[in-house]
């Protein structure tokens, strides 16, 4: 259940300074606590968002949808050429459904109106505004790479959605560059999680594990804008199973095709867009092995629809349960993952880069 929140205290100022904003946040916090001793400051992470002001409403909606994964302190930098001065609105929000005697976390939001002239020096504005000693995550969904670069020194994590980059090759290059400088949480990678879990589960029984070395054909279907998610999925398998990869070629049907080399045999690779898919991420995965097994997973109602054929041509079909997380859920998962470390993303990305 997503906890509802209400605004408890507000402060606003024009042509202000980070020091004044930080002081105002402390005062707001004291003011809220004087209303209820149940209110306690949340201290999990800072989220710094750099957004085009014209699209800030859309980003605010996405952030509202993350529910319990909301950052402790969110600093939104709304960028517009119209802004000449640093204007700010600071708010404290508390859950609406607090129980007597149960602590209710207070979450702080600062919306800063910034102009292009502020972006290169953004670190000097943001640094005083983030809570010390909790991780800081930067998310810049509308580009502004100069601003993002300016904040890498104070952020521990960068949140990206690599499907935002139209060209997968560009996405891979930018991710590699970022990854060398900080820890990256990629929403495109998180959209592949249920698929990775299910393929891992399929081959988990001891008698099936040897078949991982016998994979002969892999088809990945994806949203037309999510080729990078497919590439990351193939990169993941390649990194886990020691496949040798080469660049994929686009065939007449627009699919990316190629081969992976393994110790036993080649694996036919095919990444194709599924134009019926309405949400970002993967639409389906199909795996065949030289031992005669075939598994196909597709998005379906209530989870993934699985179809399986064994070496004896015995067909089976079932649903692997799991609720769709939706885009707000994916963003929330991205924020949660900022507190964790996934050692498999980097190798998957590096191997995916060999495909483009």
């Amino acid at each position: 259940m997503v906890p509802a929140a209400k605004t408890d205290a507000v402060w606003r100022a024009e042509d202000t300074t980070p020091t004044a904003i930080e002081a105002a946040l402390r005062a707001l916090m004291t003011e809220s606590r004087s209303r209820s001793q149940s209110y306690v400051p949340a201290r999990s992470l800072n989220l710094v968002c750099i957004v085009d002001e014209d699209y800030s409403g859309e980003v605010a909606n996405r952030l509202r949808g993350v529910g319990r994964f909301a950052a402790s302190r969110t600093v939104v930098c709304a960028v517009s050429p119209r802004h000449r001065t640093l204007d700010a609105v600071a708010t404290i929000a508390v859950p609406t459904d607090t129980e007597e005697g149960v602590h209710a976390p207070m979450r702080e939001t600062v919306v800063l109106d910034v102009g292009p002239q502020h972006l290169r020096q953004l670190a000097t504005i943001i640094d005083p505004l983030v809570i010390t000693d909790v991780p800081t995550v930067v998310w810049s969904p509308h580009g502004h790479s100069d601003a993002l670069d300016a904040l890498l020194g104070l952020a521990q994590v960068v949140l990206v959605d690599s499907v935002d980059e139209p060209e997968p090759a560009d996405a891979v290059a930018r991710l590699r560059e970022l990854m060398d400088r900080t820890y990256v949480v990629d929403l495109a990678w998180l959209r592949t999680t249920p698929w990775r879990e299910r393929i891992a589960a399929t081959f988990d029984p001891e008698k099936l594990r040897p078949d991982l070395r016998l994979i002969s054909n892999l088809v990945v279907r994806h949203h037309p804008d999510s080729a990078i998610a497919g590439l990351l999925f193939v990169g993941w398998l390649a990194s886990r199973l020691d496949w040798e990869l080469g660049p994929l070629r686009v065939d007449g049907a627009g699919a990316r095709t190629g081969r992976a080399h393994t110790r036993r045999q080649d694996v036919q690779l095919r990444l194709q867009a599924d134009r019926t898919m309405t949400v970002r991420g993967l639409a389906g995965v199909e795996i065949e092995t030289a031992s005669g097994r075939w598994l196909r997973l597709d998005r379906g109602a209530g989870g993934l629809r699985a179809r399986y054929r064994g070496p004896r041509q015995n067909d089976r079909e079932w649903t692997i349960m799991g609720a769709s997380r939706g885009e707000p859920g994916i963003l929330g998962e991205g924020i949660r993952q900022a507190l964790l470390r996934d050692a498999t993303y980097r190798p998957a990305l590096l191997r995916a880069s060999e495909l483009v």
């Binding site: 949340a42 999990s44 129980e99 976390p105 891992a200 015995n314 769709s324 996934d342």
Partner: protein
């Protein structure tokens, strides 16, 4: 035997694969199933955490078609799930759920159950693991386990069979021993998962992380620095509609003998060699072996009398529906224990639990010895207090460290302040319900958070003499006013200058 090939695809995954499983809930239409187990299964399904092939069978006495069981189960999930149910996931979870009706001692019921399980195996083309969850009245535990044995349901070629047993595991030492004998006559200990749902709570598991992942506490974690430990499980509610169960159990059996003793073992155990189920349980059992049953002057029991809770007048225990007017069942129990080993000798451990107390709280408070020399002037302040470390299990899951700090002002005055770590404000994740964690662990075969046979018996060995003594003693019991901190005279349990923490 050669080691199986590792699965290279599982590295980095938060949810590790679980072997395809058929879960049978005995008592599938009962209160626990409706309130806890079915909602837990739904939440696991929604998270994509259940095995990719998962089948559910409910077993109960009522005559129901499969469809009606599915309808009832869906209604239970909608009512009790911690989050709103996604109809598509709920449909997928229950689409193939089966229901077998029959009393648990009906020999004809088990072949039907076996047939349903075989049907799931055939449909999935593999031998599914089988997990039998005994969510029934405790008198049926041995009945069901023995019947599973007679009907060859305790082993399954190429797959695992596990039995999950709810509490209470016996109501006396003799009963617990007898139940263990019965269970282990048909099952191996590795197949048995005795539930103590406290162990599924985050804060309880965090005690292990807190003690063994931080270097700063272990040097203090002994008789030289710790003055006393208080474990409190207080409830502001009465017995509600549970008179039938509660009047036979009482506070000591309901919470102290099992949950609170588990908390004590986690607090006192030595660092295990590793965090495998048996290494942890070995260390916990050693703690229990170091505890002697408390002498009569180190135990107190009482019943709640009418009073006022949260501004509302409430009846006393003897006035509750279904409670005999001459009942001698305690609704409050407190004991003082000592752990007689090198680390803990001489440190008093105070355990108290009760219903209709002033507040709901479950916590472990570790009070350190005071500083050896009071250098500060105490005038005008409460002065320097001993440090306390408090693990709160509910309602505000977290850890508090009480420190002395200077009061702002021109004078050097000191009072206690709190440094708090709260789960609700520090992590973004919502803690799963204890049952979600425990069901998954049982399906995975990880017994770390379940009670082993020797642990159960060792717990009973400490508390059984108290139970026997109390049952033999005539009533009426001392009373305490509902809404208070318990009966007068509980200070008698305390050693020296020790004081009870406020509830």
């Amino acid at each position: 035997m050669t080691e199986p090939l590792p699965n290279p695809l599982t590295e980095g995954l938060e949810r590790l694969p679980v072997h395809p499983t058929a879960l049978v809930i005995f008592g599938g239409t009962g209160d626990l199933a409706r309130r806890k187990l079915l909602p837990a299964l739904y939440n696991l399904a929604a998270d994509g955490a259940l095995p990719e092939r998962f089948h559910l069978i409910g077993v109960s006495r009522s005559e129901l078609p499969d469809e009606e069981f599915r309808t009832q189960a869906a209604a239970a999930v909608k009512e009790f799930s911690r989050r709103e149910a996604d109809p598509k996931v709920l449909d997928a979870l229950l689409a193939e759920a089966r229901y077998i009706s029959g009393s648990f001692d009906d020999e004809g019921m088990y072949p039907r159950l076996s047939e349903a399980l075989d049907g799931f195996d055939a449909a999935s083309g593999q031998q599914l693991n089988r997990a039998f969850y005994l969510s029934t009245a405790p008198e049926f535990f041995p009945v069901i386990v023995e019947a599973l044995g007679r009907h060859d349901l305790t082993a399954h070629d190429g797959a695992e069979v596990r039995v999950i047993i709810e509490k209470p595991f016996g109501t006396t030492l003799a009963e617990a021993q007898e139940l263990n004998r019965t269970v282990l006559s048909v099952l191996d200990e590795s197949q048995v998962f005795r539930i103590d749902h406290y162990l599924g709570k985050e804060t309880v598991q965090n005690m292990l992380a807190f003690r063994f992942a931080n270097g700063m506490f272990e040097p203090l974690w002994n008789r030289n620095y710790i003055r006393n430990v208080q474990i409190t499980a207080s409830e502001d509610i009465g017995i509600g509609s549970r008179a039938g169960y509660y009047d036979h159990a009482g506070a000591l059996r309901d919470l102290m003998q099992n949950h609170m003793m588990q908390l004590l073992t986690l607090l006192c155990m030595e660092p295990p060699v590793d965090f495998s189920a048996d290494e942890i349980r070995n260390e916990k059992v050693k703690v229990l072996h170091a505890i002697q049953p408390p002498e009569p002057d180190r135990t107190i029991r009482a019943q709640y009398a009418p009073g006022v809770v949260a501004g509302r007048e409430v009846p006393g225990y003897l006035g509750e529906n279904g409670v005999p007017e001459d009942s001698n069942t305690e609704t409050f129990a407190a004991v003082r224990l000592t752990v007689q080993n090198w680390r803990w000798a001489g440190v008093p451990f105070y355990l108290r639990t009760g219903k209709r107390l002033s507040r709901k709280v479950t916590e472990i408070a570790v009070t350190l010895r005071p500083v050896p020399h009071q250098a500060f002037n105490q005038e005008g302040s409460v002065g320097v207090q001993p440090n306390q470390l408090i693990f709160t299990v509910q309602p505000n899951e977290g850890v508090t460290l009480k420190l002395g700090a200077k009061i702002p002002g021109t004078r050097m005055r000191v009072r206690g302040v709190n440094m708090e770590f709260l789960y609700g404000t520090t992590f973004l994740s919502q803690s799963p319900e204890a049952y979600e964690k425990l069901i998954m662990d049982a399906m995975r075969g990880d017994a770390t958070l379940f009670t082993r046979n020797d642990e159960v018996e060792a717990q009973w060995r400490i508390m059984d003499p108290v139970v026997q003594r109390w049952e033999a003693a005539p009533g009426p019991l001392p009373q305490y006013e509902a809404g208070t901190a318990g009966p007068a005279g509980i200070e008698q349990l305390l050693a020296g200058d020790d004081k009870w923490r406020a509830i």
